[in-house]
Amino acid sequence: MMNAIWLFLFCGGILAAVVTDRTALIFPSVLAGASDAVELCIGLAAFLGIWCGMLRLAECSGLMIKVSRLVAPLLRPLFPDLPKNHRAWAPMIMNVSSNLLGLGNAATPFGIKAMKALDEDNKEKGTATKEMITFLALNTSAVSLFPGMILGFRAEAGSIEPTAIIIPSLLASLCGLTASLLTAKILAKWGGKR
């Protein structure tokens, strides 16, 4: 799947540029994208360094287990086949909590940890399990109580009510989440157990 998407974007972009006579743009644009990635990664390195360090402390001290007990009941029904004491629960719950508070960047290391824990049970390495897909549905839904960046943009552009979009935005993302989870549920049944 990723092969097709990547090829479509990359070669589609190049072909479109050739057709519209913007051939000179192609290489600079490819390089600009790649250097954006490098910049992002440098920022991410500092961030992941601090956060994974913190995560390690939270894990060693047993803090994660405490926190996860509070949010757990909300997530349990979404993963009926995951054992109650599975290692993935704590980081999954922390990931969802961070996303809710609008700490998108803080959520990433937790999410990756959760994916690794889920992958330990994966009988078919390299293929997504239904738990992974449900978990990612939570992450591709942007359910957030505080979309900070946009509020910043709006305030800076002189909006009379920069925060007025919070509630509609939260409701819209909940609609998206519901659709994602339902789709995942249906397709998991349809595709058989893995």
């Binding site: 990723m2 990547w6 974007l9 589609g12 190049i14 072909l15 479109a16 519209t20 913007r22 743009l25 390089l31 994208g33 954006d36 990635a37 990664c41 991410l44 360094g49 994974c52 360090g53 913190m54 995560l55 390690r56 402390l57 060693c60 001290s61 803090l63 290391p109 999410g111 990756i112 690794k116 889920l118 994966n122 390495k125 293929t127 997504a128 992974m132 897909i133 990612l136 591709t140 957030s144 505080f146 946009i150 943009f153 709006r154 552009a157 002189g158 909006s159 925060t163 979009i165 919070i166 509609p168 935005s169 819209a172 993302s173 998206g176 519901t178 659709a179 995942a184 397709l187 595709g191």
Partner: protein, 177 residues
């Protein structure tokens, strides 16, 4: 409520940075050594992500700059007119799942060009806030565990984005007009 939330999001990070090490020390964890071990893990992870990010972001960049995005938008503009969606915002539906920085840039341009309290400005804000960079999220999380067969994960993510985008338009109308 909003004041509480914004105060919360300012204080939560410093609070975590303070509580976690203090609590760990209290529980007898060797904090300095464990922190360094964790940080090392984070850096290794970052190194593994870089090639994935280069591949995806280079492709997205040339797709937008080369005009592939324009073709895609033109192809869908009859659909746009059918539902009364502002055409100006529609490219966001395509950029958003592909590129977080790209869509932020696009949204901020719309807000500046049409005003933050216009239909376009509000719709773009709500849509940006309620959808995610699905491709990026999937490539980061699946990349970290070397999963290459996504099965129906992409479909699930994009369904969510599509529904959220449509809901954003309806809710903008309901809340503001």
């Amino acid at each position: 409520m909003i004041a509480v939330l914004s105060a919360l999001s300012v204080f939560i990070v410093p609070l975590l940075l303070l509580t976690i090490p203090v609590y760990a020390f209290y529980r007898g964890v060797s904090v300095y050594d464990e922190f360094i071990d964790g940080a090392r893990e984070g850096l290794m992870l970052c190194l593994r992500l870089l090639p994935v990010l280069i591949a995806m972001m280079a492709a997205t960049s040339v797709f937008i700059d080369g005009g592939g995005m324009n073709f895609l938008v033109r192809f869908f503009s009859p659909l746009c007119d059918l539902f009364g969606l502002p055409r100006e915002v529609f490219p966001l539906a395509f950029i958003r799942p592909l590129s977080g920085t790209g869509s932020l840039g696009f949204t901020s341009q719309l807000i500046h060009a049409y005003g933050p309290d216009s239909l376009i400005g509000r719709f773009a804000s709500v849509a940006q806030g309620s959808t995610e960079t699905t491709f990026y999220v999937l490539s980061i999380y699946f990349g970290a565990v070397a999963v290459r067969r996504f099965r129906y994960a992409l479909f699930v993510g994009l369904i969510g984005d599509t529904v959220a985008f449509a809901a954003a338009f309806i809710l903008t109308k309901v809340f503001f007009y």
